[in-house]
């Protein structure tokens, strides 16, 4: 109990000096907690940011992936646009929600099916006269989900659709509603037809015609500018293809590919059992694609390499930079703490010399020093950790627009690191105290 009293007295009497140590430890804790917090969470946050690139996996019907453009010579003209022809094979639309039941279901952030077809499109043609009276052109139709609530067989419900996958669209008007007569048209087509938001759009394919209301005009900067987006049910009715879609775009949070993933992507069967399990249970684009193929009969899931590779690259590099920056700041923090601790102990050599002169043993002096340092550092570390978490949240909100999830691991790491640093620094200080000769010190230099 005497020791406690000594420590307490020393702390209360020389408060300002102890505060310096507490401040220094606190600052280091603050930096470390903030950096580690951000670094541990940066992967998830980046992944969410990277989804601005759009879908990274495309699911197609199996036969379509192989022979889709076998006989499309007529259209094929300049830009490799064999895709102009109508599809000949399909996936069942009712199978699509199964995507949410795969092993990595939580990593699937969004998906939208498409039924592509071509139809005559005209604006404000009136109900019955579909042709001669008004200017109409043949345009690609894309039947899709805009913002649809689906419930997977696991009972989990989620909202998916192209609305979350076209972040680069510049939109006039509003997004169309699912299963309604609303449609959105591309800016090029809108200009050609002279269409405006709110106009009635007449689409006709064969004998079937439909009246749609234009809810929005988008500028996508790619081929979609010449297309009409409408709800999948409307296109299915028009084309006479109930419950059929020919393409699903999937946006998934993925782990950057490595050698294992590349090997597996070529042929999953060639992997050893252990490798196969590692691959299957890691969110590589290729393993997610494989799992989607498993749940949707007759489908081929391909990763869109431009997006997947770009995401992987950005992710890996940012993480590497962040980790190196963190390591650097941790080292800086540790050196700062060690430096100040050593200085603080050296400063008090005469006090310890006096203690030794009046009969304190080396052990009790060391204990005093360690206890004192530990209590001051703990105080500083607690406050620093609090401030560091706050700093991490600020970074999260400014950069990513959402808070950083502080993992418990961060605090454990920081406390271990600080404990080691503080202990190492005080040990070197204690060593110098043990070597002190009371007489010399007290007598002065």
């Amino acid at each position: 109990m005497f020791l406690n009293r000594m420590v307490f007295r020393s702390l209360s009497r020389q408060l300002s000096r102890r505060i310096l140590i507490a401040v220094s430890v606190g600052l280091s804790a603050c930096v470390s907690v903030a950096m580690l917090g951000v670094v541990f969470d940066v992967g998830d946050k980046l992944n969410a940011e990277l989804s601005t690139y759009g879908s990274n996996i495309v699911v197609q019907p199996k036969s379509d992936a192989v022979v889709s453009d076998l006989y499309s010579a007529n259209d094929a003209d300049s830009s490799g646009s064999a895709l102009d022809s109508d599809p000949a094979s399909f996936i069942k639309e009712s199978d699509i929600p199964k995507i949410k039941t795969i092993f990595w279901a939580y990593n699937i952030t969004d998906f939208a099916p498409q039924l592509n077809t071509h139809a005559k499109v005209g604006v404000n043609c009136g109900g019955d006269s579909s042709g001669a009276a008004c200017h109409s052109v043949s345009a690609p139709l894309v039947g899709t989900w805009f913002h649809k609530k689906i419930t997977a067989s696991t009972g989990e419900s989620s909202t998916v659709g192209v609305q979350g996958m076209r972040s680069w669209w510049k939109l006039t008007g509003s997004w169309a509603k699912d299963d309604s007569d609303q449609a959105m048209i591309g800016s090029t087509l809108a200009k050609e037809l002279g269409a405006a938001v709110g106009d009635t759009l007449t689409v006709g394919k064969g004998n079937a015609t439909q009246q749609l209301r234009i809810s929005g005009i988008f500028d996508s900067g790619d081929d979609d500018n010449g297309a009409v987006y409408l709800s999948s049910s409307a296109v299915q009715q028009l084309a006479g293809l109930p419950d059929q879609v020919d393409r699903v775009e999937v946006k998934a949070l993925t782990t950057p590919e490595n050698d294992l993933a590349r090997k597996a992507a070529r042929n999953p069967g060639a992997l050893s059992q252990a490798d196969w399990e590692t691959w299957y249970c890691t969110a590589y684009p290729s393993s997610i694609a494989y799992q989607i193929e498993e749940v949707i009969p007759g489908s081929v899931a391909k990763q869109v390499r431009q997006v997947a590779a770009l995401q992987g690259d950005v992710m890996q590099k940012t993480q590497a930079v962040m980790i190196l920056m963190t390591a650097l700041s941790l080292i800086a923090a540790a050196i700062a703490v060690a430096n100040l601790m050593a200085a603080a102990i050296a400063e008090r050599s005469s006090e310890f010399a006096l203690l030794k002169a009046i009969g304190a043993t080396d052990a009790s002096v060391s204990r005093l020093v360690v206890m004192e340092t530990a209590s001051v550092s703990l105080f500083g570390a607690l406050i620093g950790a609090g401030l560091g978490s706050a700093a991490a949240q600020v970074v999260g909100h400014v950069v990513f627009g959402s808070g950083i999830t502080m993992r418990p691991m961060v605090f454990v790491l920081v406390f271990v690191l600080l404990a080691v640093t503080v202990l190492a620094a005080s040990l070197s200080g204690i060593r110098s105290i043990l070597r002190l000769r009371p007489a010399e010190v007290l007598h002065g230099r």
Partner: protein, 429 residues
């Protein structure tokens, strides 16, 4: 200080020398303290230099890396004049490229597309320059090799449809009729010089042409590689531009020019607009909005992230450095007291400290800047495989900063020192 007898017993020396010696002895006699001060400012300067260098270099290098993941500006011929059938000729490609490169450095690749028959089924074949396409499309996953003379690279869908393996042979035939009226006319005129047989009558009778194809049998190529991108490239057969020209019986301009330009956002849009404004060129430029917007968003995000993190770390590091310096100076209370008791004026004591601290700052700053540059260089080499040029203005800033911090940190303890009552201090509290 005049008339004061220094601890060195050299009262006759000039004030200037005396001052220098006092400072030097302060540094050398308490080496451990000086080392601590220098370490503190080294850490500060190293952190400052390294973080700032990273903040400046990384987003730039990242955006450079992003440029190899597909084009952000594409130019196609306008589809009305006869030029569309001929594509964009070489002179116009050069002209367009000059227009783009006048504004921003860019990588360029051209594509010529033709419909060809393999086992009488039609496929699209693209004539490319392997090296240029490879430079823009880093993400194409190619097994085997890129197109070379006599060797084609097939899309993965084509490969699985035809059961092709690397090293296998395919026979590719070209039918003028497949490539539309205008195109066949163009290739007819081109191939007439090559004295081909069926070309002039090709556009008139389809049946006759296909018999021609069966007679000729096409040209045999080796499958050099299989490309997998997950996009429409999977359905295309790639050959070198020269091979396709030979197959089609004549050279023709490009159907598509891809640019991967360094500019982004509105700068890129203005390049596209300026190309579109020149209607006489017969080409149409379009930015690839999807990649563009996403790239600039990611870069902005990274920039904010790095700067913010650096500022937080820097502020905290400098506060840490400041406290260390403060504690080092305040350790010398006794000495200050002794000097004042011996008659040194407060100002003189202050001047000495103000001269000593910047020395630590300067020394530590230079050391730290060198260290920080080393770290930043290693980081760039590891992550981006690129050398980092020395940023001299930043180096100057980091040295000045550490001197500045050292001086600032000295102010408080010196102020306190000037209020020290020598009697109290000398009695050891």
């Amino acid at each position: 200080m005049k008339g004061r007898r220094g601890r060195f017993g050299m009262g006759t020396m000039t004030n200037g020398r005396m001052f220098t010696i006092m400072i030097l002895s302060a540094v050398f006699r308490r080496r451990s303290r000086a080392v601590m001060a220098v370490i503190a400012s080294t850490v500060g300067a190293a952190t400052l230099f390294c973080l700032a260098a990273v903040c400046i270099a990384v987003p730039q290098q990242m955006s450079e890396d992003m440029r190899s993941y597909g084009a952000n500006l594409i130019v196609t011929p306008v589809e009305s004049a006869s030029s569309s059938a001929n594509g964009v000729d070489a002179a116009m490609v050069t002209h367009t490229t000059e227009m783009v490169e006048a504004k921003t450095p860019a990588k360029v690749a051209t594509y010529r597309y033709e419909t060809v028959r393999i086992n009488s089924a039609s496929y699209i074949m693209a004539g490319i320059d392997s090296a240029k396409v490879k430079a823009i499309n880093h993400h194409w996953s190619v097994q085997g090799s890129w197109p070379a003379p006599g060797k084609v690279m097939v899309g993965s869908d084509v490969a699985s449809a035809l059961g092709l393996k690397i090293g296998g042979d395919i026979t590719i035939a070209y039918r003028a009729a497949d490539n539309g009226g205008g195109a066949s006319g163009a290739s007819a005129s081109a191939s007439s010089s090559a004295s081909s047989t069926a070309a002039p009558s090709a556009s008139s009778k389809d049946g006759r042409v296909s018999t021609d194809i069966l007679e000729e049998g096409g040209t045999s190529f080796t499958v050099g590689g299989i490309v997998d991108t997950g996009g429409s490239e999977d359905e295309i057969v790639y050959a070198t531009a020269a091979d396709l020209d030979k197959l089609a019986g004549g050279a023709r301009g490009a159907d598509l020019i891809e640019y991967s330009a360094e500019a982004s956002g509105s700068a890129l849009q203005s390049i596209a607009d300026s190309i579109n404004a020149m209607t006489s060129m017969g080409v149409k430029a379009q930015t690839v909005t999807k990649i563009n917007t996403a790239n600039s968003r990611i870069i902005t995000m990274l920039q904010t992230l790095f700067w913010l993190v650096s500022v937080v770390v820097l502020v905290l590091t400098f506060v840490g450095v400041g406290t260390t310096m403060t504690s080092i100076v305040s350790q010398r209370r006794n000495e200050i007291g002794l000097r004042k008791a011996l008659g040194a004026p407060s100002a003189g004591v202050g001047t000495e400290f103000y001269a000593e601290s910047p020395m630590y700052g300067l020394f530590g700053g230079v050391l730290g800047t060198v260290l920080g540059y080393g770290l930043a260089r290693v980081l760039c080499a590891m992550v981006f495989e690129r050398a980092l040029p020395m940023n001299w203005p930043l180096a100057a800033v980091s040295v000045l900063c550490s001197i500045f911090i050292a001086v600032i940190a000295t102010i408080r303890p010196v102020r306190k020192a000037s209020r020290i009552d020598p009697a109290v201090v000398l009695r050891e509290e």
